[in-house]
């Protein structure tokens, strides 16, 4: 027996056993490192994820500004207006560098005007304010977490916001008989990238709090590519000839929550939107300043005693 061959064999055997043990530990989730792949080799997308950007406020590059504004002393420096006036710093839109390729959404001239008008009437029109299902892609970058449950045939995403959810079919599924708020998602793997084609949208969802919208002709292609076990590159291309002059693309990163006590808790907004939208229909109104179907908010903010001593 050639001793070199034996040692080569033993060496290989030890190596194989070590790899098997490592794989085994990673696959069962008992090790300190998260498994990067599912059995079968697909990237492991399981977990609770969230975008860390300001896309839900404004998809384009923007500085800080009031969520609801009124003219200030300088034309280009609006100030906080009711109903967010009393919120102070909490009533501001956080600044962000934008998520749109080329920093431009190619609206047609008439739809560009509609977007501006939507932005000016954001509180009246944004379906998010009404706790409606957010649609795709908006659900992916709202400032709330979502949970991915990934199997070989389906990927289920459940969003904290409004208990919205979507199923991504990796195998054949029947076409939906009607349009859906969250669309109909069919996916496949291209190497490490999950590619999802989303169709069958209604025209009721928005893309941001800045009035970005689409029609029921919207066609969405999403690409999820792992950057690490805890981060995904999320790219999405939107095509809608009724609203945009050409397809356009957003790109951002989704992050996995690593907290030990991380868990998906419902953002149950349903009953909290009854007062703003049905309050005027109460027999005895809780808010005393409804005028017909118009809510009139008197914002009262008393200067705190502590501040008064500096104002003498």
């Amino acid at each position: 027996m050639d001793s070199r061959s034996i040692w080569r064999g033993v060496f290989l055997a030890v190596g194989v056993v070590a790899i098997a043990l490592a794989v085994s530990i990673r696959m069962t989730g008992q090790g300190s490192t998260r498994e990067g792949r599912m059995p079968g080799g697909a990237p492991n997308l399981n977990g609770i994820w969230q975008a860390m950007n300001t896309a839900n406020w404004d998809l384009l590059a923007h500085t800080v500004r009031p969520a609801v504004a009124q003219p200030g002393v300088y034309a280009n420096h609006p100030v906080l207006a009711a109903p967010v006036l009393a919120l102070g710093s909490v009533g501001l839109v956080p600044a962000g560098p934008g998520v749109v390729e080329g920093n431009e959404i190619p609206y047609k001239p008439e739809t560009a005007a509609m977007k501006r008008d939507n932005g000016e009437h954001w509180l009246d029109r944004d379906p998010e304010v009404r706790c409606y299902m957010p649609g795709i892609p908006r659900a992916m970058y709202m400032p709330y977490p979502f949970q991915i449950t990934q199997s070989a045939t389906k990927i289920q995403m459940v969003f904290a916001y409004a208990n919205a959810s979507r199923t991504i079919f990796l195998e054949d599924a029947p076409k939906p008989p009607a349009d859906k708020w969250m669309g109909h998602s069919v996916g496949h793997w291209e190497g490490n990238t999950l590619v999802v084609h989303v169709t069958n949208f209604n025209d009721r969802t928005w893309l941001s709090r800045s009035g970005d919208f689409h029609s029921d002709a919207l066609d969405v292609v999403e690409r999820f590519t792992p950057l690490s076990p805890d981060a995904l590159r999320y790219e999405v291309t939107l095509t809608d000839p009724n609203v945009y002059t050409r397809p356009w693309k957003m790109s951002m990163v989704l992050y996995r929550q690593l907290e030990e006590n991380s868990t998906l808790m419902d953002f149950r907004c349903l009953e909290f939107v009854e007062e703003p939208f049905l309050g005027h229909l109460r027999k005895n109104q809780l808010v005393k300043h409804w005028e017909g179907d118009t809510i009139v908010l008197d914002v009262t903010r008393r200067v705190p005693d502590g501040d008064k001593k500096y104002e003498r």
Binding site: A13, L21, M27, A152, T153, A162, A164, T167, N261
Partner: protein, 388 residues
Amino acid sequence: MKISARFLLTFAVVAAATIVALTQGKIPGFRGDASKGDPRTAWGAPDLQGIWNTNTFVPLERSAQYGTRGTMSEEEHAKALADLQERNKRPGRDSRDVAGKPGLGTEKDVARAYNEFWFGDKPARLSYRTSMIVDPQDGRIPALTPEAAKRIADKREFLAALLQGTSGGRPGPISPRRNDPSPDYNLDRVNRADGPEDRGGPERCFGDGVPVVLGTGTFGGVMQLVQSPDSVSMYYDVGQGSGYAWVVPITNRPHLPSNVRLYRGDPIGHWENDTLVVDITNFSDETNFHGARENLHIVEKIKRVNANTLSVQFTAADPTTWTRSWTAVQELEKTDEKTTLVLEGGCHEGNYGLMGLLINTRAAERAFREGRGPDPATQDNATGGGDN
């Protein structure tokens, strides 16, 4: 010599595979048992996935005629099936005679039937099981504690008081309790529409309560289950635009702090051999599960019995509501996924009913004030047209 080396390699690969199998076998729910031929996921857990339906009818509680018998005889089954099929011929109808007069074709007969279009197919099959409840032995929800009996009676009296003097209530004048607040967080259909809180949970699109049992009978519910090594994600379609998502994390974290109260509770899952065990606590006062509210504790056990059957067993305990805990088993059947798609809910998004109801009630009050119509307090707007 080369043969020896190859042998060593083969041995090593076999050993490695064995170690993988053993290591995974130590983790409950990950133990493969190919001899049974039961469906398994790629990572060796029992495969609970699919779209599951309740097309075979089993009542939650047992009819008294069966006593402590869990199954019916052939003869009993044939009769019960004939009754079910007869009922299915006229869904939503109530054709019973009233005070000796034929009920067929009256307003009462058809008042609830307009809505049947949305309720899906009726279960056409009937199980031999006499009830889902397997413990206690009589197949019925155990007696209420005195405290709960009083709480529930107080609420019933409140509901009855607001119906007093209407066509759906007891005789009498308009109750002095007309403007009282509900004694509990109201989920019932109160005969009043001062605001959204007076309307039932379904009218406010709260969705069904606790996701451990799928409705049978009126709602032909389906549930879609998607499974990964660290979570099980279920979508319950409970009919008429009401559906909800529910994720069970498979984890050993403790329950949320007790001040955190959730409509559908805080579920935590773990595997015990081939059964997914889900412990659910932290319910809220907006929960109502057969009379139990925020103190409800449920232990759910989900098991794939065979290719076409998912067994969902749950034990419900609440010492502030029932004198003892009780256990029920619902067996769900697999639906063909090539032809079936579970649609999203969208109840809240299309809920013009709640708004219309409040608008209409305010208009009726105005008409009454102006002498153009009856006092809305004398009208029954609670007992017709729905499940509540």
